[in-house]
């Protein structure tokens, strides 16, 4: 330590008079507080503002599709493909463990339920998926349904394939009586028809529509869309006067755009001339002060 120079000239070794803590300790405290403030600002600022669309990020994280679902009133919600298409929550299944010396709570801690259904997951992948919270229900449902999976030409949002799904009878709402009835019905069906299991709402809908199975009690197979709605949404002829107001507005915009051509010079002229005047005066002041000192 002989003849040693303090790091940064010891500027951060100054201490406060009360606790005698160095400035660098205070800077850590400040950084910790700032971290919390930043986290809260992001969380309750821009992130919360997009709450209805968080499914897009969750779908990206789970490497799955996303789905916009809606009822007949077109109130949309962006949810994961699992919630939109799968009937069962496989994580809630009951699993039997073979006897082992390893304590049960440790086995449960490292157990990934997807390995009970899918053969192609190695132990490393299973651990990564388990602790990365990747949901594998869609893959499981596809496999159990012999890869009979409805994939309509969907849309892509920011690289995430997204289905637009009409759910007119609240099938995808997990607490709804319709969902519970469907779950119970399909569970029984699957027990009896191991080779032709139902794991997706679209397969259930198709089988009900084709009359292969009856609809579960309390579940609607179809809903009626009244003609006035269809006629107004898909007009066969459009009256010109329906758009007349908008034509007039565009005409006004065009005229105003020409008239306002000069207005874009207002600010540059005002600030430019006052700035030039200020520079001129400062220049004169400097010249005068240099000449007299």
């Amino acid at each position: 330590m002989t003849g040693e120079v303090l790091f940064l000239g010891g500027i951060l070794n100054f201490t406060d008079p009360l606790l005698h803590w160095q400035l660098y300790i205070w800077s850590w405290i400040a950084a910790s507080i700032l971290m919390v403030i930043c986290w809260l600002a992001w969380r309750y600022g821009p992130w919360k503002a997009y709450q209805a669309l968080h499914g897009l990020y969750h779908a990206f994280k789970a490497s799955s599709n996303a789905a916009f679902t809606s009822g007949l009133n077109l109130y949309f919600e962006l949810i994961s493909e699992r919630d939109a298409k799968c009937i069962f929550n496989y994580a809630k299944s009951e699993f039997e463990f073979e006897p082992s010396r390893i304590p049960m709570f440790i086995r449960r801690l490292f157990f990934n339920y997807a390995t009970a259904f899918l053969d192609d997951i190695g132990w490393a992948k299973a651990l990564v998926y388990k602790f990365g919270k990747r949901n594998m229900d869609v893959e499981i449902a596809k496999k159990l349904q012999n890869y009979e999976w409805e994939e309509s030409p969907s849309v892509t949002i920011g690289g995430i394939r997204t289905d637009i799904i009409l759910d007119a009878d609240a099938w995808t709402i997990k607490n709804s009586p319709q969902h519970k009835a469907i779950e119970a019905y399909c569970y029984e069906w699957n027990e009896l028809h191991q080779e032709d299991q139902i794991h997706s709402y679209s397969k259930l809908q198709r089988l009900m529509h084709d009359g292969i199975i009856n609809s579960p009690i309390g579940v609607k197979t179809q809903v009626i869309i009244p003609w006035p709605r269809i006629d107004s949404a898909f007009p066969i002829a459009i009256e010109d006067n329906e758009q007349a107001g908008a034509y007039r507005q565009v005409a006004e915009d065009m005229a105003n755009a020409e008239q306002n051509q000069l207005s874009k010079y207002y600010i540059p002229i005002l600030f430019g001339s006052f700035g030039l005047a200020a520079l001129l005066y400062i220049g004169r002041l400097l010249t005068w002060s240099m000449a007299h000192h």
Partner: protein, 285 residues
Amino acid sequence: MPTEIVAQPLAGPVLQDWQHLNSFFDHPLILGIPIWVFISVIFLLALILVNLSWLFKIRKLAPVRGYRIAQKKATQEDVQTWVLGKTQKLTIECLRYIDSVLSYYNPAKITRWHHPARSSVIHIGGIPAMMVSDDYDQTRDIVSEIAICHACDEFNKDQKWWMGFRDELKKNNIELPDGMEEEGVAKPLNNFSDIRERGRLLLGYKYPEGIPIPAYSIFSPSKFSKYFPKGRSAGFLGGVFIQKARELKTDVKEPGLWEKYLPIGILFGLGVIAILAAWMAPVGK
């Protein structure tokens, strides 16, 4: 004998008032750099990481930025719009809505959509929005589209209903309208003119209360496109708008010369006065 004074280097760094060393944190770790520097770097990196991770999360939502913009603006003219492209991309944008017509704020984008019905307004996070696509000049109601596609598919498959309907008409001595039948079977409904010429009428007979659709349906944006009227793209409607607006523009009162040049003249005069004042103002004695 004079005493010789030899300057000895101090044991340890010279400390000013209020400067103190911490026995642990000021201990040099590598290359004489004290431990506190490494800890400070860790804190700095953590701070950067917190912000970058959030920035990354928010950036993933960039395609739906229009949702936030529309939420912020929230005037009658600003409408959150889901734009479906033929490229299958879906973006959420904030468009301008005037008198049943949607358009971009940027005048360079001429695309326009007509909004015919309240029922086609969608909601997301409580905010109303419209759904449009570049290949059709109307806002889209997915429920009605699913209904028309479903009804046409069922009609094309179900010749039994057609036979019954035709027999019923014959029984009541009602003449079958022309162009409805082809070699004893119903002409299929495959495009807009089929629906306009006979489809709407026939589907009305087949489903008098309305069209029944499956309670759970995956919407296909492209499936309905075969029923779009030919040549009615959103860009075409925009072109028609500009053409008609040009004709109307002749009615708009042209501003006079004074009205046009007075404001800029006043500003220019003010600027000249400011420059002259700066040039002539006294700077000292």
